[in-house]
Subunit: 362 residues, 4 copies
């Protein structure tokens, strides 16, 4: 009972897959920022389905309509709302799941949560489709950050057993991120992308799906952003990123790799680079004590395989109270990772904008 | 600028390591719950330093004093506050770090954030000591959850290259958790604990520190807890857990292991066990669509090695603007993982209490 | 920088008078409530301009489009969003005020707040037009309250020197409120309404405007709603009601009348009416200690005269930094009170829904 | 279930009249402000009971102990906590009200709200005693505001039928406020104070109590503070002020006086005073569109007579379910208004600090 990302600059996401529209409201971006609609469309395009064999063949018209908060393309400081009309809905595809929750989907848990009144069609409010408005407002946040010298970007780090090369956590540059930010299925290595694409195609051919992980970097974030205890960057970014469906893990800097490390290996030695305090390594992923230290943010996020697979599965019939079988029909992504990447970047951007907005100087 | 865990039942943590006292306020626990002070002390004891060679030799009197919210040991429904007096402070140990931030500590980032006015002694507001009131109020939350049939527990899963056996995600029982909940440095396997202890002792001997990870389980949580989008269990629990210093990663269910899994492997098949819907596996760690599905919650958390090591390190002198060297003196934990475990369990308990408090039936 | 009403069930209002659309999102209504669209239109009609000589002659098509949160007219438990398209905009009417803030309007203060980037046309985000989505979502809240036996209603208590008879604070009934809830310019006494209408017509004829006050009652609210300290009914309702432009005062029960009262006059003596605890009087307006006591809520709200008047006024020219004169053109309400009434009732309904949603029983 | 004032800089108040201590935590004041403890004691003294015949003869040691957030008397930017030990408790005085709620007190409503588990002794969490930590942290807020050129002050405007002269809303100066800020029972006119004192003494002699109202002014607040819709100054200040027990009404500028005014009378004509935009009148009390316009804030607050009177009253016996009689014993204020004044000023100061903290420039 809070579809709101952020505490200071709050973004509320709304909509259901098969309702009239989905959308989001940001309350409120700072005034005076020029927003380039083309850059928003670029992000929408990275998230949109139907572009290649790795994605669902559904056709979504993902052009957001901005309803408020802009005048002549410049933020007014008032809440910024955008909606995206739903279309191409084939509700009948979902008829057979009304009482038979899909394994590993939200269906059963949501049914209990909302007493069966939730809209089950297309996943309803739990649909991955809600990442479209998230991506749109995230694209607004990215531009505001960018105007302040901060760049958010990412790539698909792994799918199945294929992996891209990780970012250089010390030397990653805004240019590299901006290049990735224009691509669908962003990867540093084209060989890695090819290998991942092959794994996804195999899964699809088998009526199966496959998981993966992404890596996000943020460069240009000044030291001193974030607050102690419960409003550190890790608290706020993780909370925002889990908004993207299928995300099941997040780590910052060396993350789970720290388990096997010594302090002498893990500590980032400090030095002056001119007047700027820097670290020789970046095991902390740019965050110490929850607060940015001026080094690039490094974030990795794990996503589970899409639970919608074509294979017959065991479920229950909530109506008859009997065990049952289910075969999910319809068009589904064999791997959600490439399309989830811009949504995760959007969540990171919204979280950072929220945190920056909070650091007030009286 | 929000040391508050939770949105509905809010816990504010305050204090600085070398100030008069640390504490926390929960606004507000539900009325009518009997709170057993002994159970709180058990948790405080699990977190307290000085108990064995793996921990710092500092001596902290960690008995919380409850100031409000209880009458005859029963919650009144009013805010519940507890404080812990600081003592055994050796401020002089920290004099040499005033302008020389310790690598991988909050020192530098906090100095920028607060314009140098933050209390640097003992880590100030960033000190691991603030997990003491967190643990105390978490112990209150645990008892309220327990009265509702919900048990939170955990163990040290790994330190360095030594690992405990993981929980059985389907069959883990409250009894097993309750046994672990009474121990310092909880482990399932005593051999694993011995191996971890040895790694920690080696690190200490070398003036070094070592990282690790913990695993938390929650049993008895009914299906239907959590909300879509930004208030799912993963959002709220992750945000709370990153409150504990040194935490750098979190995963739910199979987490990062999903990267290499197929949907057909990852999906949890459903069936009726009597009238109860269950899953044959629990790759999702009890959470789908952000909402509990009735299976045990499974959470793993990574912690970096304590950055306070005895070895000489590179730092900067913020006063002279020159590069400098630093050797950290004082008594420090070579491995924070065993002591962080009850604090992480406390954060999970507070997050769940917050989420349960939000699911209102009109 | 937070256009959000409520803490538990949050309603975000967005839009600008001359932008594409205005709207609101409620995050989130409880699931399973049937919403009657006709009742929403009734409230929109009460708020709509152009209906009689007391209101502006602008023509607004105030039919909300619901985008989410409903399936077959029943709340799903997901965020409920509604928008209203803007039309009939005559932007040119506002050209002469771009640098000459209208006295007692938000213009100057907003210009400073947003660095001049706010949309000044039609009042922008400060326009009374934003009470349209507030009224729409308030009408949803009213229906949810009504299904729980709670009725919110009100009347215009005074305009200029003409006053309606006040509610009987002890015996006011839901039927009386429901009758008023269907009317435009609700009054108990038709004579009073006639006198007020006459005062408004006179003000209009003089190119002037006139202030007034409204009285709201809530019946059927059970005892025990509201929380101590900062989440009492008075805190939450007042905060919500000041969302309506032109509101400058609020009082509960005898309010400012308490100044001249003795405790022996002001205290509400208690007795059993069957099994129900009641009060013989209701000076407290149904609220003690911030919590409902089972008696009707009684709330009075003061509104200033519309600042848009046709008379020439003194202002400043922010461009030339010189004193200037201003004559406001365009069509304006000579008295906003009748149209503000349903918006204030809506704000009260949203506040109460928020408070009820918070009273969780674990 | 939120004893929290503020959204950005949050102050949580806790404690019960007869528990170990009461207190408050501010999360978090900006870093780097020197706090003068003497000024805090001055405010505590203004609020403290037992100083003259108009107040209760109870003796409260109201010296706050600051536990965190200060180093060498300067704010660190970490949460600032203060507690006040309870003493001089005479619990036996309250035994006879356990099942017999006092008319117009919180007793009955709170009993329903908390299922009878609330601490009824001395009003528990609803006690006016909780205004002590509010006043203490408000005194911190006042000093931070003062360092930014903003002065909050007030006076008792009326008690019974005796009234002080109101502030000059255009020309009120910081010096006048600072003079009032040092006094107990602040009044501009000593004659008025004498008349009020006489009315209070009469009420006391009759075993009765009496209501009143206060007027608050804020000078030096720059234009542009506050946000549209739900975070305007009126929303946030009113929500904070109703935290003080007995408050039943609030108005800004001419407030309820607007009812009988024309726009031509009510509008504040604007002009340049040098480079500063000012208004010739200040009917709006310094706030238009919810945002400060640079003129002094003018706020009036109504308080009901203390419900604790010595006269026999009608109540119910919740145990026997019968009507009953009650005579309240113990020492009580015949008029709470003089002592409530500094608490209301504190609430205003905390609200403004919260609002200022929110206006971020990226």
């Amino acid at each position: 009972m809070s579809s709101v990302i952020g505490s200071h600059i709050k973004t509320t996401v709304f909509g259901e897959s098969h309702g009239p529209a989905i959308g989001a409201v940001m309350d409120a971006p700072p005034a005076g920022y020029k927003i380039d609609f083309e850059q928003i469309l670029t992000q929408m395009h990275r998230r949109a389905p139907g572009k290649d064999p790795t994605a669902t063949s559904r056709n979504e018209a993902d052009t957001p309509e901005f309803l408020s908060g802009l005048k002549d393309g410049i933020t007014t400081g008032a809440p910024l709302a955008a909606i995206i009309r739903n279309s191409d809905q084939r509700s009948k595809n979902y008829d057979n799941i009304a009482f038979r929750p899909r394994p590993s989907h939200a269906d059963f848990a949501a049914s209990v949560r909302f007493g069966g009144f939730n809209d089950i069609r297309g996943g309803g409010n739990f649909s991955g489709r809600l990442t479209a408005p998230l991506t749109a407002l995230g694209a607004v946040a990215r531009q505001i950050l960018s105007a302040n010298g901060i760049t958010v970007g990412g790539h698909v780090l792994g799918v199945g057993h294929s992996f891209d090369m990780p970012f250089d956590p010390v030397n990653i540059k805004a240019d590299e991120l901006n290049k990735l930010n224009k691509e669908y299925f962003s990867c540093i290595s084209s060989d890695a992308k090819e290998a991942m694409t092959k794994e996804i195609a195999e899964a699809k051919q088998n009526g199966d799906s496959i998981g993966g992980e992404v890596e996000i970097a943020v460069v240009g974030l000044p030291a001193g952003i974030g607050s102690p205890t419960a409003r550190g960057i890790e608290n706020v970014v993780s909370s925002a990123v889990f908004t993207v469906p299928a995300v099941k893990g997040i780590e910052f800097g060396d993350g789970f790799g720290f388990t096997s490390m010594k302090g002498s290996e893990a500590n980032d030695q400090m030095y002056y680079d001119g007047d700027t305090v820097k670290c020789r390594t970046n095991h902390n992923g740019g965050i110490t004590g929850g607060i940015s230290n001026g080094m690039p943010l490094i974030i990795r996020v794990a996503l589970k395989p899409t639970p919608s697979i074509a294979l017959e599965q065991e479920t229950v019939n909530l109506s008859t109270k009997q065990n049952d079988k289910l075969t999910i029909e319809g068009r589904h992504d064999p791997c959600i990772v490439p399309r989830a990447l811009p949504a995760i970047e959007a969540a990171v951007a919204l979280a950072l904008l929220d945190l920056i907005g909070e650091v007030t100087k009286l």
